[in-house]
Amino acid sequence: MIFWRAIVAAALVATSPALLAGEIPPDARRSGYSFMGPDTRAMQDDDSSNPGMLFVLDGEALWTKKVGTADKACADCHGDARSSMKGVAVRYPAFDKAQGRPVTLDQRINLCRANHQQTAPLPYESRDLLALSAFVAHQSRGIAITTGDDPQLNPFVEQGRNLFMRRQGQLNLACTNCHDDNFDKRLAGSPITQAQPTGYPLYRLEWQTLGSLERRLRSCMTGVRAKAYDYGAPELVALELYLMSRARGMPMETPAVRP
């Protein structure tokens, strides 16, 4: 047993970039799931009582809906999402050659709509976009996150890391102050998590609906009384890229349930 763990640990160290100061080592990474109470965990565990699954169902319907002047559905190019989308969400945000920068899954969906379906993009945080990204990400449930492996992403991961470490807002707090240095403690009665984005888009009880990581990041920024970046802003993409690469190795849980 110890032998295997040593081999796996050596392999991990050999293949993954060195940990920077303050980063949580891979075997200490914990999903937000482990910080919740049993009732909320039960809500996530059962697909027939997980409200996020309602959105996955909606996304499944949208997947086969023909749209745009091209009159094409996602399924026309991508076939059965259960196989074609398996392992996709775990490497997002991903580098887009045409754009020359990383794009999130939501942005990728809208690029597909523009380029291949010839139809208007879905507004950020709209029900349809959330349903589609939930459906796609759900196909990667249980699969380990690999975001950040592409060396083209390095400068953007760096940008995201700097944003994570930077103090901001009237409360002058950086993400790292809570999520690296103080997880497992409490902020006004709620447990502070490590901020691992393993379950997005997720059903947040506070929102009473499904929401994206960008929505969560924006509300965190409002929480420290900083002006939140707009949806789709390069800063939010860089942050998401950094957070996903910081969660490398953890399995996706989409759609998660969180308080």
Binding site: A188, L205, E206, R218, G223, P259
Partner: protein, 121 residues
């Protein structure tokens, strides 16, 4: 308000404590969605069953939470749902049996606000 709502259901009938069990986290993770299970000890036969379960709260803007109607064919007098609680308060579950007797249980629930507020934009 709470008492008025209870009287609307039970009239002047006496409400005894017992038989009803309220399964609800004493400290909720988020007041917007609180899982709740109400169960009533009853054989659920044609002559002895739970007709209905009524759930009330003390401090929400409205005292009613839900009314649930059962029959002998329910097999088990147990319902689960998710409720909203605006503040730390009491939740009351009342069961009406087939003999039109009323039984209740009261639970004290602690509700805290979420740590970070969000701009509604």
């Amino acid at each position: 308000m709470l008492n008025g709502a209870i009287r609307n259901v039970a009239g002047e009938a006496p409400i005894r404590t017992g038989k009803v069990k309220l399964d609800i986290p004493p400290l909720v993770e988020n007041g917007n969605t609180v899982p709740m299970t109400v169960s009533v000890a009853s054989p659920m036969t044609a002559n002895d069953y739970v007709k209905s379960i009524h759930v009330f709260n003390e401090k929400n803007p409205q005292p009613n939470i839900g009314n649930f109607y059962l029959s002998p064919s329910s097999g088990r007098a147990q319902i689960s749902t998710r409720i909203r609680l605006a503040d730390t308060q009491k939740v009351v579950a009342i069961a009406r049996l087939s003999d039109d007797s009323f039984w209740q249980v009261v639970a004290d629930i602690v509700v805290t606000l979420a740590a970070c507020t969000e701009e509604l934009n």
